[in-house]
């Protein structure tokens, strides 16, 4: 049965559907891909609809992953092997309607095509916080203010982290909680991955630029998961990264395009002004706007944070209030890659169980 789904060798896209899928997955990030692989392994026909041109979601853009710093591509390759030849992915799909029937769902696209499946898994992930919204940090205005995602792009391309003038930065400031735990931008939640991403990137900068001083400005260091605390210690003891407890108040540009940042060292209770060459904003998660449309189409609910609410946060974390509609990954809120993969597998089991018991 699995041979009917053509995606030879890599996550290539097929233009034809051999038969109606049993499960339609919206989103080809790690949640969607993992769930697809797990469902395919159980013999289900799976179709993934992806809005981007390429699958892989945010992980495909990320160089190395915390805490082990393994390449993100390794994780995607692993998922790809499970899926190979068994799952079809439709790229560049814009959904403009979902019709729920008694026994199945029909997904309508802007291109005028439709896809019908018995179960629907929403795995459309998240969007990175638009750093421009923290206006006082000057992203999009000052050339040397960049985001953590841009740092990953530089590393992924095997390039050196440079200032806008092409010089090696002598001082870099990493700013935590950009768009997270911030009432001013309306996001009260923690994005869960930024603290450890900041620690990882601080180490990577020191590895690449040993002469560079690296400062991390944080509210709390939330090193909650396995190996996180060890990484945090490594950054301090082995690499000399300086962690300063204080939230950035503003960033300005000096005549030489270096940046003047103002904050408070809340452990010493002193205001602090510092000149750095680069400011890296550790941007958090926000709900994907396209997902909001799905929520409306299906009559689902979101929390105050804008992420989708499952039918029960403890017992039915992958289920929604609509039978046959399931959730996986960061559509429910910020999550690490490990958590997302585990959650996607759990969703696949729930869908498998539901398809088997379906009248």
């Amino acid at each position: 049965m699995g041979n009917r789904w053509v995606a030879p060798k890599r996550l290539l896209f097929s233009n034809s559907i051999k038969m109606d899928p049993q499960v339609i997955i919206i989103g080809a990030g790690i949640a969607g891909l993992t769930a697809a692989g797990a469902l395919a392994e159980k013999g289900h026909h799976v179709l993934i609809l992806e809005k981007e041109a390429q699958p892989g979601g945010h992980v495909a853009q990320w160089d190395r992953l915390f805490p082990s710093r393994r390449p993100g591509s390794e994780v995607l390759d692993h998922i790809r092997k499970i899926m190979d030849g068994r799952v079809e992915i439709k790229p560049g799909i814009r959904i403009n309607g979902i019709i729920a029937h008694d026994q199945d769902f029909t997904v309508l696209t802007e291109e005028g095509t439709s896809y019908t499946g018995q179960a629907l898994l929403i795995a459309s992930g998240f969007r990175l916080f638009q750093a421009e919204r923290k206006e006082e940090y000057g992203y999009g205005i000052y050339d040397n203010v960049i985001t953590s995602a841009e740092v990953e792009t530089v590393f992924k391309q095997g390039k050196k982290l440079l200032t806008s003038k092409g010089t090696l930065p002598q001082r870099v400031a990493l700013i935590h909680c950009v768009g997270s735990r911030d009432e001013k931008v309306g996001n009260l939640y923690c994005s869960k991955v930024c603290c450890v991403t900041g620690v990882k990137q601080a180490i990577e900068i020191k590895e690449q630029l040993p002469q560079c001083e690296v400062f991390s400005f944080y509210m709390d260091m939330r090193m909650y998961d396995r190996h996180f605390e060890e990484l945090y210690f490594e950054a301090q003891k082995q690499w000399g990264v300086q962690f300063i407890r204080g939230r950035l108040s503003e960033c300005s540009e000096a005549p030489d395009q270096s940046l003047i940042i103002k904050t408070e060292d809340t452990l010493t209770g002193r205001p602090l002004r510092m000149i750095v060459d680069l400011v890296i904003l550790l941007v958090g998660f926000v709900p994907e706007p396209e997902t909001g449309k799905l929520v409306e189409m299906l009559g689902l609910s979101t929390g105050e944070d804008g992420f989708i609410l499952p039918s029960d946060e403890h017992y039915n974390d992958n289920l929604t209030t609509v039978p046959g509609v399931f959730l996986a990954g960061a559509v429910k809120g910020p999550a690490t890659i490990s958590n997302t993969i585990a959650d996607a597998r759990a969703a696949a089991l729930q869908i498998d169980s539901w398809l088997k018991t379906k009248p």
Partner: protein, 356 residues
């Protein structure tokens, strides 16, 4: 720096500004500090733009200085503001325009308070009625006077006799814009351009031919801050604030500083003199200071009004270098004459700051 990044933010903070029939309330201090500015606002609106602007002689302070100094309770302040609104209502106007930034911030704060706590508004209405017998409508539009000049910056630009361009070099004048803290920091959505990159003054500068300087301490307080200045022991901090700004802007060689608050031009102007006397430091070229102007004064210069009719002679930092750059003629012999042509007396020249 990418200006388009700022323009993107400016788009998000556009406010509605009434286009006619303004009920105007004055500032407590501007008539002393910069006496011609408010008069010039009337002249520009009435004579240059043909607008209806009215003030009621019975209007008072908004009590903002007392409120922010913790000597006037908020309940009292709200009732005084309600009385101002009653005067507007009785005068047949709906568009409320303030001369003072602190007042603008306070009116905004009170209207927001009433919006979120209608029971407070009801109590204030009752208090006002009991105390004065007055009733009021809330303004349908609240603007600061700089908003109004911003709104008509193009019309003023079309009538301009002089532009913010160095007549000798043909280059745009380099302008620092300094926004009063109470303009948009408390309510970014109530100010043109928001709180971080306000556009209300930058828009005037751009329209009239100048170039806006973005310097590192652009957001820093001018040093007025009621608690910094009203408490004598804190005045060193006030001076430090201004010095920090001057030190930060000086490398950009600004030709002028444009302000929209009663306190900012006062302190950015007077403290330049104080710093020059204390340290021998001047921030302009060749011992000159950096002229500090209100938006009405700058609009008046652009429109071709006589600099001495605009009150520029009462500035501590002489405006002559700016007038020379813009090619504006002036009669030095008239500088210290009053409106009746009598001498007001020539002030003693500072020790370091170049005097004209």
């Amino acid at each position: 720096m990418k200006v388009e990044g700022k323009r993107r933010i400016w788009k998000d903070y556009q406010k509605e500004i009434a286009d006619d029939r303004y009920f105007y309330v004055r500032s407590c201090v501007r008539q002393n500090f910069f006496p011609a500015s408010e008069k010039m606002f009337f002249r520009i609106l009435k004579e240059e733009l043909g607008k209806d602007i009215f003030e009621n002689a019975a209007h008072t302070t908004c009590s903002g200085i007392g409120y922010h100094s913790d000597v006037v309770p908020f309940e009292t302040t709200m009732t005084m503001v309600a009385r101002q609104f009653a005067l507007m209502t009785e005068s047949g106007y709906q568009n409320f325009t303030t001369s003072c930034i602190t007042s603008f911030g306070l009116y905004t704060e009170i209207l927001e308070t009433w919006h979120h706590f209608p029971e407070v508004e009801a109590r204030v209405r009752e208090n006002l009625k009991k105390a004065t017998g007055r009733e009021f409508d809330k303004p349908s539009n609240l603007s600061h006077a700089s908003d109004v000049i911003y709104k008509f910056r193009k019309e003023i630009g079309e009538k301009a006799r002089y532009r913010l361009v160095n007549k000798q070099t043909g280059q745009p004048l380099r302008c620092v814009e300094h926004i009063g803290c109470h303009y948009s920091r408390m309510f970014p959505g109530k100010g043109v351009g928001g709180a971080e990159y306000p556009y209300v003054l930058a828009g005037m500068i751009e329209e009239w031919g100048g170039e806006v300087i973005d310097y590192p301490e652009r957001r820093h307080c001018c040093g007025f801050g009621f608690r910094q200045y009203l408490i004598q022991a804190n005045r060193g901090y006030s001076l430090s604030c201004s010095k920090k700004k001057f030190d930060s802007m000086a490398p950009y060689k600004p030709d002028l500083i444009l302000t929209n608050c009663p306190g900012c031009p006062m302190f950015l102007d007077r403290w330049q003199y104080t710093l020059s006397e204390m340290e021998g430091t001047t921030y302009g070229e060749n011992g000159q200071g950096i002229p500090v102007l209100t938006y009405e004064e700058l609009a008046g210069l652009v429109l071709g009004y006589d600099p001495w009719d605009l009150g520029l002679q009462v500035h501590q930092v002489p405006a002559e270098p700016l007038l020379d750059k813009m090619g504006i003629p002036y009669d030095s012999n008239r500088k210290f004459l009053n409106r009746d042509g009598q001498s007001m007396g020539r002030p003693k020249a500072p020790s370091f700051l170049k005097f004209y």
